[in-house]
Each structure stands twice: as structure tokens, then as C-alpha cells.
Amino acid sequence: MITKSLRWWTFLALVLSFSLAQQGRFQGVSINVLTFTGPQIAEPLRRHAAAFERATGARVNVTVVPFSDLYQQILTDATTGTNSYDAWIFAPQWMADFAPAGIMEDLTARVRADTAIQWNDIAPFFREFSAMYGGKILTIPLDGDFQVVYYRTDVLRQLGLQPPRTWDEYLNIAQRAHGRDMNGDGRPDFGSCIAKKRNAQSYWMFMSILGGYVQSQGTRQGAFFDTRNMQPLVKNQAFAEALRVYRETTRFGPPDELNLDVGDTRGLFTSGRCALSIDWGDIGPLSIDPQTSKVKDLVGAVILPGSRRVLDRNTGNLVSCTPQLCPHAINGVNHAPYAAFGGWSGGINAKASAPKKDAAYALFSYMSQPAQANKDVTIGITGFNPYRISQFRDIQNWVAAGFSEAGARNYLGAIQQSLNSPNMVLDLRIPKAQQYQQVVLDRVLSEYLAGQLTIAQAQEQIHNGWEEITNAEGRQKQLQAYLASLGIGAR
């Protein structure tokens, strides 16, 4: 009895002293945090900021700009010396431009000294690749991003088909399902909905298809450039095959698929109009939201399909998988899940004053700690997808949010399988990555999908466009950056 109550009292005292120490820790410190508008990201940020203010006495001003202008805004503000923001929540892919500009604070020491953040609970991919650049920890992960394929469990059951393992199976399902009424409104619905709008998410979708054909030897092999000479991995059979598959999916999509962004395809999928879709983790929580969804408990998720034939980098041909060629293949199929975008992360302005840096770090740490984060990832509106090991373990958390237990296991299983894959494809994280992807790849894909270019012409244009940027920036410099982003050379 006595020991028990004593323990209790000690605990209480500890908690009290801790919270007293916290109380007023940042009294008088005011930080400006920039992110993009939306309920997602901004909502949990505001909510946690309020709790953080109460606990520490800091003042957190949240500023939001439209998503499409965030990258520009951070760079212009920090590189012109205006420095109106002390911290940002942004995509780690942009670090390749932010880090060389010297605007990002090195957080390594802070993270090492911080036990509350439970750094090792963050999945290895996010803590070792996403959060790091050039061997330093520069961001705090708040979100996990990579793409999976979603399917309608009821439709597949009716068709007597299994979830797709290869892209050919994906096409087969799409073809069989296309034209069926899948939401009971009497109108034919679509086999596959993919966001193919220009200047939106189209090039990520394409890379999700390409990955399984082009990368088989593990993450460090890279999927964009040859790691020996920075030659684009474009003029080869793997790229051609991925282009072919990408265009094929359009046949089984909505008529205006070339003008759909990811918001449109999510709307279509959750209102029951698509059998298949490629997307980030968002569809899972969205599908259980009664305000948006007609497909609650009818959604399955699976790791990105792959290929039985992969690229031989010496010849540029597609060759059948062998244990040497595809060491990570599952049942003979090489999967390469794509960590598109990288997951929203918090970074701190190197030019902010020391107390502001401390306060901003404490805020991000607070948001990332399991007590807060594990709740957030189950709520659709936060836009946060799972990235911590404990988030995958605790099924109850998801059931409490409205998932069925089987649904939660299936959803988390697909993501976890991707996350644990040693053959994950990293998003491009080198200087001018935006120009490689948004200006060249995205435009050519769009022209190819619109029928303005043949496969060979598209390959030619992407190759030339990428080479032009590489040559202008300096091949050696770009190669070093590419190797560093793959974790080669930096360690």
C-alpha cells in the first residue's frame, strides 16, 4: 500500500516539476511558422500550437500560403534576408535546394539530446533518408508519404480477381471493371482513376509505375539516373514499357482523366466511381469519413505493383528477373514502392534567433511525439499519414477512429510493406529537382498522354531536357548530389 501510494506521489511530483519547468520555458518567445493553407497540416499545427502555447508560454503565429506557392515563398523570404519566418512545414524533397542555400538549421544535436521525440520509433526510411541531407538531420518528420494502389474489395470479389501484383494485372482488372456500375447510381463507372493533370501529381504517378521496372537492386541503385555517370535512365525499354502502361490506364479511366488532380481522383474513388487508384496514404482515412465516402469498408490497399522483367542497365533491355537481378522480388515480382514527395516535415530557419530556434524545435518535437502524432494519423483531416513504428503496431488506435479491424490491418499492411521494402524508390532530391520533374518530365508526359508525342519522342525529349539541366548545373556536382541523396558517399 505505502509503496504504491509513494510511487504515485513520486510520479505526481515528477509530473508537476516537469510541467512547472515547462511552464514559461519560452515565455515571451514568439515564433512564426509557415505552411500551406488547408484544413490538413494547418489544422493539426494550429491545434498543437495552442496546446504548446499554454504549456510553454511561447507565442506561435501560423501563416499559411497556397500549397503551390509554398516553395517559392520559403526561398524568397529566406534567401533575400527578409527572414519573416522562423520555421516551416514543407516537403523534404525541397531540401536539395534549401540545404545548399544555407537556410536550414542543423537539428542533429537537438534530436540526439531529445528523448521525448522517440527518434528510433520513427520508421528507418524517414529518419535516415527523409529527414537527413548530407549526413545531418535537417527536418523533423510529421507525416509519411509513399504511394500504394487502392482497390475496391467488393468489385474484385465480384470479378473473382486478386489485388494486382504486376502492372499487367492492374490493367487487366481495370479493363474488366471499366464500365460497371460500382456505386449503385445506374451509371457506368471507371476501371482506374489516376491523377494525370499537368503540373499536378502526374509525374509521381508515372514514377510509381516506372519504379518496378527500373530499380531492382535496392534503394541505393536509384531510379532516375545512372549512378556512374548521371546519364538519365530514360532511353531504355523499361521507361518505354512504363510509358505504355501509363497510357493504357487512360483507356479505363474517366473521360477527363488528363485533367484530374489527386483531389479529383480521391473524390471519385471515395464516391465509389473507381475500381482502382494510385495514391498516397490519404484514401484510407478518407474512405471512413461519412462526409466524403460511399465506400466505407470496401477499400483495400496493396503495395505498388511491380514487374517480372526489369531493366538491365548495361544493355537498356528488359530482362526476366533472376535471384541475382531481383534480390528483393516477392514471388518473382520486383516491387519498388515509391516514396513520392517524402512526407511533410518541420524545418527551422538557420537565421532565427537561438530562443526562437529552441521554441520551434520544441514545437515540432511535441507534434511528432507519439502522444500527439499517433492520434493525428488516424484523422483524415490532418493530412498526416503513418510514419512511426508504433503507429503500425497499435491497431486499436485506428479502430477507434472508425476503421474496421480488417480494414486497418489491410491499409497499414500495404503501407508497412512498402515502408519496409529494401527496394524503395527515393524521390529525386538534387538541386533543380523541380526543373527535372515539373518542367521537363511533367510537360513531356502530358504531351505524350495527349497524343502529341510518340513513346520514342517522349523518351528523347526527357533525355535531352534532363541532360541540358545537368550540363548547365555541372555534371559532377549533380552526380555528387544524387549519390548523397541515395546515401552513398555521405556516410
Binding site: N32, F36, G38, Q291, S293
Partner: protein, 338 residues
């Protein structure tokens, strides 16, 4: 009585055709607005699962979007609203005043700036900018530039005989609008950063005034041109000053044009996006930014966006209702006759 129509009065057929045309045009204008309105009362699922047209019959209207925008987003929206109103009104009034006086000047006076003088002036201005960029204190740079200009004007300037005309001045004014804002936005950002005006309404008022003044000049010029100069000449003989004539005679006579121009300047400033995005952070964000903001990584939130667009239209509609009667027939004619 009906026989007593003026010869201009249209026949019933013509009236019918007129109304038909007006009706079709109204449909063209109104249907998108109607769609906007009902979208603001739809749940996401009703937007996404196919076209629904009639509240209560097709779908169950919901106030969720209005609650979110006015409730959760309330403080942001109110602030943006106030910013937009203040910025648009002040810049429209400023631009209208500057533009009207410049337009009046361009229709009533003959300007003959020498080509040489203009070239010299621009060169000196470039000289000043260069010196300032090289680190010379700006006061010194301006002083030096001015000195060079006056000196040059006395000596070189006299040698050039070619003149520019009023039309050239007007053309130069409007040519300032040619360059797309996206190209100049970073220099403008740097300019206001140096002035310490980032994230203030002042910065927005200044920039909107500058970009809209040429439009005011051009539109007002035409209205002034149509005002017969004899009234002004009479007043001048009576001893009234130019400023008085402008203020008490010309401006009231040009009221329809003034009102039309004011409305246009107002909506241009009201709707401007790119400069607002760059020059404002948290404090001076305007409504167009809120509209754009409703499209995030989760796709466009049509329901919220519709609410915000409707909120943006309302005041302009009210203002148009109030001001429309000033664009009435007969104001000028009546005044001229009187």
C-alpha cells in the same frame, strides 16, 4: 395614347427580341453563379458523386461549408476581408484621382517634351540607380543625378528638336502594364523589402495604385474628350482657376465615366492575386489568397471555395447597385443644357 410613341420606341417584336437576348445573356452569366451558390451548400460527397441541381430535391443542403469558413476560418476570413476592402477602396480612389487629373491634363493641355530631354532623364535615372546599387548613399546619388540632368538639359537638351506628343505620353503610361507581373514580382518584393513595407496594406495600396493608374488615365481621357470645352472656357473667362474648373465642373460632368472607372479600378484591386501573394504574409493577406488557398494537397475544396467566392462578390454587387444609377443616361446632356 400608344400612338403617341416617339419614333424611336421599339416595336413589340423588337422588345421581345431584346428581352430574349438579355435573357440568354443572363442565363450565361447566372448559371455559373447558381452552380457556385448550390455548391456552397453541398456536402463533399454530393459534389463528387455526380451533378445535382436542386437543393432538397436532388441533395440535402448542408451548412457545413459556411460554418467552417465563418466559424473555424472566421478570424482569417474577417481579417482578409477587411484588408481587401481597405486596400481596394483606397487604391481605387487614389488611382482614380491621379488618373482623372492626368487624363484631364492630357486632353486639355498640349505637352511637348523633347525626345532628348526624356532620353537624358532616363539616362540620369539609370545613373542614380547604378550609383545607389554601387553603394553611394541615395541622397548623394539623387543630388548628383539631378545636377547632371539640369546641366545636360542646358547644353545637350537644346540640340534636339524632336518632340513627343500627348499620345506618346499616354502610350507610355499604358505600356507599363505590358510586362506580366510574374516577371517583375521578385524585384518588386525586393523594393518593398528595402522600404520596410512588406506585409503591410500600404505596400498593396501603392502597387495597385501604380498598376491601375494607366487604366484610369485611358478610360477617363475618353470621357473628358466628349465633354465640350466651351463651358470651361466660359468659367475661365469668369476667372475660375484650372483646379476649380476641374473639381467643380469637369468631374461632375464626367460622373458616369468616373463611376464606371471607379468600379473597374475597384474590382481590379479587389481581385488581384500575385502581388498580394508576394507582398503580404500574415497580416495583410487578401481574399483572393483565401480563394486560392482552398485548393491544397487534398484537392480543391469546392464547397469552401464557393463560400469564399460568394463572400467576395457580395460587397461588389452592393456597390454596383448603389453606383449603377450614376451611370444613367442624361446626366451629361442635362448638365450641358442646364
Amino acid at each position: 395614347m400608344r400612338r403617341n410613341r416617339s419614333p424611336l420606341a421599339p416595336s413589340p417584336l423588337q422588345v421581345g427580341l431584346s428581352y430574349l437576348a438579355l435573357g440568354l445573356a443572363s442565363l450565361f452569366v447566372l448559371f455559373p453563379l447558381y452552380w457556385l451558390l448550390i455548391t456552397s451548400f453541398k456536402l463533399p460527397i454530393d459534389v463528387n458523386s455526380g451533378p445535382f441541381y436542386l437543393p432538397w430535391l436532388d441533395f440535402k443542403p448542408s451548412l457545413h461549408a459556411w460554418e467552417y469558413v465563418l466559424g473555424t476560418l472566421g478570424p482569417d476570413v474577417r481579417r482578409a476581408y477587411a484588408n481587401t476592402a481597405v486596400v481596394a477602396l483606397s487604391s481605387a480612389l487614389l488611382a482614380l484621382f491621379l488618373g482623372a487629373s492626368a487624363a484631364y491634363a492630357l486632353t486639355r493641355f498640349q505637352y511637348r517634351p523633347r525626345v532628348g530631354a526624356v532620353v537624358l532623364f532616363v539616362a540620369c535615372l539609370g545613373f542614380v540607380v547604378l550609383m545607389a546599387a554601387l553603394g553611394v548613399p541615395w541622397q548623394v546619388a539623387v543630388g548628383l543625378g539631378l545636377a547632371v540632368f539640369i546641366l545636360g538639359l542646358q547644353t545637350l537638351g537644346r540640340r534636339f528638336r524632336r518632340h513627343l506628343s500627348n499620345d506618346d505620353i499616354a502610350l507610355w503610361l499604358i505600356s507599363n502594364r505590358i510586362l506580366p507581373p510574374v516577371v517583375v514580382v521578385i524585384p518588386i518584393y525586393l523594393l518593398f523589402q528595402q522600404l520596410g513595407l512588406l506585409d503591410t496594406r500600404t505596400a498593396l495600396v501603392i502597387s495597385y495604385t501604380v498598376i491601375n493608374v494607366p487604366i484610369a488615365v485611358w478610360l477617363m481621357r475618353d470621357y473628358f474628350q466628349n465633354i465640350p470645352p466651351d463651358i470651361e472656357e466660359c468659367a475661365q473667362i469668369d476667372g475660375a482657376s484650372r483646379y476649380r474648373i476641374f473639381w467643380t465642373i469637369v468631374l461632375p460632368l464626367a460622373a458616369p465615366g468616373l463611376v464606371a472607372t471607379f468600379l473597374l479600378l475597384l474590382v481590379f484591386a479587389w481581385n488581384e492575386y500575385l502581388l498580394a501573394l508576394f507582398l503580404s504574409k500574415a497580416n495583410s493577406q487578401t481574399m483572393p489568397l483565401m480563394v486560392a488557398a482552398m485548393s491544397g494537397t487534398r484537392g480543391t475544396e469546392w464547397w469552401y471555395m464557393s463560400v469564399i467566392i460568394i463572400l467576395m462578390i457580395l460587397p461588389v454587387v452592393l456597390l454596383a447597385l448603389v453606383l449603377e444609377r450614376y451611370i444613367e443616361r442624361g446626366l451629361i446632356v442635362g448638365a450641358v443644357k442646364g
